[in-house]
């Protein structure tokens, strides 16, 4: 599923809304999450998951082609951790290997 497919599905479900507004809504959601992360904040959507920013220390990397050492500066990376409900849904969908089954072992 791509962003435009998501927009198309929402448009089909909400015929009373303008396609333009649906695009704006979807855009707003991801823009807001991005803005919060760039402010260093976390975004927590219960059941779905949480977006956070993790710090990576500076390290010495290597150019894989030449083997030459290159300094890699400290940086921030966006991180997503799936919420319990979504995690279970994703795992449960595999036939015969649900979360419940694993708990019985």
């Amino acid at each position: 599923m791509t962003k435009s497919e998501l927009i198309a599905e929402l448009a089909a479900d909400n015929p009373h809304l303008l396609g333009r507004d649906i695009e704006l809504i979807v855009g707003t959601i991801f823009d807001e999450i991005t803005a919060a992360l760039s402010r260093g904040e976390r975004v927590e959507l219960r059941g779905f998951g949480a977006f956070t920013v993790k710090r990576r220390d500076a390290r010495t990397g290597r150019n894989p082609r030449t083997g030459q050492a290159v300094p890699v500066e400290e940086k921030a990376v966006p991180f997503f951790k799936a919420g319990k409900e979504l995690r279970e849904r994703v795992n449960r969908s595999k036939p015969g290997r649900g979360a419940g089954e694993r708990a019985r072992i």
Partner: protein, 103 residues
């Protein structure tokens, strides 16, 4: 640290798009539900400029209770992974995101 929640996102939709508060909250919920349903069916969700959510199959492996050292089998499972786009990575580092961001 500040935490942004559903309520904040719904409020932003309300102010930016001009739907009612209720409808804004409902739409947000629908977006999350649609994405969840796609992922549940094993389909990836690709949001250009933001990132890609995908489902990865993990094989069976032997784990260990870190406290007791007892070996426990970890059954094959499916996990969700998020790969941020170049643009999101750049934003988080306070850089201008690259123009071409359609990975």
């Amino acid at each position: 640290m500040q935490t942004v929640t559903r309520a904040h996102l719904a409020e932003t939709i309300y102010t930016q798009v001009g739907l009612s508060r209720n409808e804004s909250a409902d739409l947000l919920e629908t977006v999350l539900e649609r994405m969840s349903a796609a992922l549940e069916s094993g389909e990836s969700v690709k949001i250009s400029g933001f990132g890609t959510f995908s489902v990865r199959q993990k094989g069976r492996r032997v784990g260990r209770n870190p406290k007791t050292g007892v070996e426990v089998p970890i059954m094959p499972r499916r996990v969700l992974v998020f790969r941020p786009s170049q643009g999101l990575k750049a934003e988080v580092n306070g850089l201008t995101p690259p123009v071409d961001d359609d990975e």
